[in-house]
């Protein structure tokens, strides 16, 4: 609102105050200050959003401390574009300064040593003890080891996932840069669930596009542990068979049995072998270490590797862990593991915690949305979107409206929309 207009209205409302005040009495009483202490662990898309919105919606009575060992967050979204040189890692860097200055979130750049769910306190690696009324955990993902990875240490170090933006992204970028048109890039996709369902297929597309544009050709072999493409089936089928025809080979039902880093050979469980110049192995996922290794029973979800949560509040379904919430990729829900929906889950969690602090009932019908734009070439993109609605019968979030919907192909207009989407999503999360 413009300042002058705003001040004029302030003046006008002061005159009408005595008349209007009574009509606002009801509204004001429901706006009683929320008060409580929240510790948020993990400064990714989920953790940062929940910290911001707890303060933005909850006001100054909600004391929020964000615990994140790294001072800088590198966005996984758009990190495939670093591999092909459209972005630099530093352009994907975000920090917590606005959370501190604008929202008054306290930030602790340390890791968590232990959680005491009975005494309701968290101990950090620097010895600081943070008592909480509500604890929100958003530690993202971790990986299982690659099965039978052999070779010298130096060669093994070249087998990267680059599935968390950072040093591995730079390593993979350099390896791709060194390829020639007679070389093969092997991408292995883990069994579901994995972070960002369209992401690996997107990576295959942009690497294929890069090899075609800058090397005059090359090969991309996708070894997918799953029985088929896990997201945007129509768009990626067109991308593999038409847009990147002759470069991408898609091989479903190909879980990894072993990788020899000296001979650069990948062998699948069916016995087939593939040799490449670069092997980008994305290992099987599990919840962040804090969930699997805390020793307090957080990993009670899918396969005993993810956190079971009540999606009305994201509070743990382990009844011994009352007051502990898990949001984002670590939680076990029907929703995908990705940054955009992590932002939406965080808002549901923030809203629930504020209502709990106020003694109100929590929202019984939350809606979340997942949207993801996907570059297919340097100038075109597709998208995937779905809105989820709480289903009281199954107590899960189910697709509503048009259901899981992918764009009608990849276009340059979508590519422009994608750039805006990224900027706005990151702003809604970090500033």
């Amino acid at each position: 609102m413009e300042r002058r207009k705003f001040l004029q209205n302030i003046g006008a409302s002061a005159i009408g105050l005595s008349i209007l005040k009574s009509s606002f009495a009801g509204q004001l009483s429901t706006s009683a200050e929320a008060a409580g202490r929240v510790v948020v662990v993990g400064g990714g898309m989920a953790g940062t959003t929940v910290a911001k919105y707890l303060r933005f919606w909850g006001g100054t009575g909600v004391d929020v401390t964000l615990v994140e060992p790294n001072a800088t967050y590198y966005s996984n979204i758009f990190s495939n574009m670093v591999l092909t040189g459209e972005r630099t890692l530093s352009q994907l860097a975000f920090n917590y300064s606005t959370l501190k200055s604008k929202y008054g979130v306290k930030v602790q750049n340390y890791s968590v040593s232990s959680i005491d769910p009975v005494g309701k306190k968290v101990t950090l690696s620097n010895g600081v003890v943070l008592p909480y009324d509500r604890l929100v955990l958003a530690p993202g993902i971790d990986f299982e080891p690659i099965p039978s990875l052999t070779g010298t240490a130096a060669n093994q170090a070249k087998i990267v996932h680059a599935w968390k933006a950072g040093a591995q992204t730079t390593s993979l970028q350099n390896q791709i840069k060194a390829m020639t048109k007679s070389d093969t890039f092997i991408l292995t996709i883990p069994p579901k669930p994995f972070r960002c369902p369209p992401g690996p297929y997107e990576r295959a597309c942009v690497v294929a596009d890069y090899l075609k544009r800058t090397k005059g050709g090359g090969k991309v072999v996708i070894l997918d542990a799953n029985s088929g493409i896990q997201a945007e089936l129509q768009n990626f089928t067109i991308a593999f068979n038409e847009t990147h025809k002759g470069i991408i080979t898609y091989v479903p039902n190909s879980p990894i049995a072993s990788i020899n880093a000296d001979t650069m050979k990948v062998t699948t469980t069916s016995g087939a072998s593939y040799t490449g110049k670069v092997i980008n192995a994305i290992p099987t996922h599990k919840a962040g270490k804090l969930i699997t290794d805390s020793g307090i029973g957080l990993a009670n979800g899918l396969n005993g590797k993810w956190a079971g949560v009540n999606v009305l509040s994201y509070e743990s379904t382990n009844l011994n862990l009352a007051g502990i919430h898990v949001i984002g990729d670590s939680s076990s829900t029907t929703q995908p593991k990705a940054g955009h929906i992590a932002n939406a889950e965080a808002k549901v969690c923030a809203d629930a915690i504020i209502n709990i602090f106020k003694g109100n009932t929590i929202n019984q019908g939350p809606i979340t949305n997942s949207s993801c734009f996907t570059p297919i070439t340097k100038t075109t993109a597709s998208w995937l979107s779905v809105v989820y609605r709480y289903d009281p019968v199954s107590k899960t979030m189910l697709p509503t409206g048009n259901g899981i919907t992918e764009s009608n192909g990849a276009t340059s207009e979508n590519y422009e929309d994608m750039l805006k989407w990224f900027n706005n999503l990151m702003a809604d999360t970090f500033s």
């Binding site: 409302s13 105050l17 004001l28 303060r55 809203d351 409206g401």
Partner: protein
């Protein structure tokens, strides 16, 4: 237009009351009212009452692409009236969902939910 002015007046009144209750000694300090980043506590106190409306959580599904409270990007929905938001969404419901991502989102909400979202967004201030 008349109803919008009234909403603006109501909203300003609510804001005024919130300010008056929480920080009366700062009431005449214009700079603090105008600039939400002047001090985190001040900014949050100013907003706390105004943002506690029923459509809050529903409307927050718009913020990822349209900015917090609807004030980012090319289409600043926060500057639209409730009726204009509702008519836009209803039009999107009739269009090919695969042609535009908003056509997917428009189809996901009931008329009552769209009303709550529009009411909420049109009453928020720039943030």
């Amino acid at each position: 237009m008349k109803s919008k002015s009234f909403i603006l007046l109501l909203f300003s009144a609510l804001l005024f009351i919130t300010v008056a209750i929480s920080c009366s000694k700062d009431l005449i300090d214009e700079s603090k009212i105008e600039d939400p980043v002047a001090s985190p506590n001040e900014a949050l106190t100013l907003k706390a009452g105004a943002i506690d409306l029923p459509g809050r959580l529903l409307a927050s599904n718009c913020f990822q692409c349209h900015g917090t409270n609807g004030y980012a990007g090319e289409l600043k929905i926060g500057e639209q009236s409730a009726s204009s938001i509702i008519s836009d969404i209803n039009e999107m419901k009739t269009k090919d969902p695969r042609a535009n991502i908003m056509n997917v989102h428009a189809r996901a909400y009931t008329p009552e939910e769209i009303q709550l979202i529009a009411d909420y967004i049109s009453k928020q201030i720039k943030y």
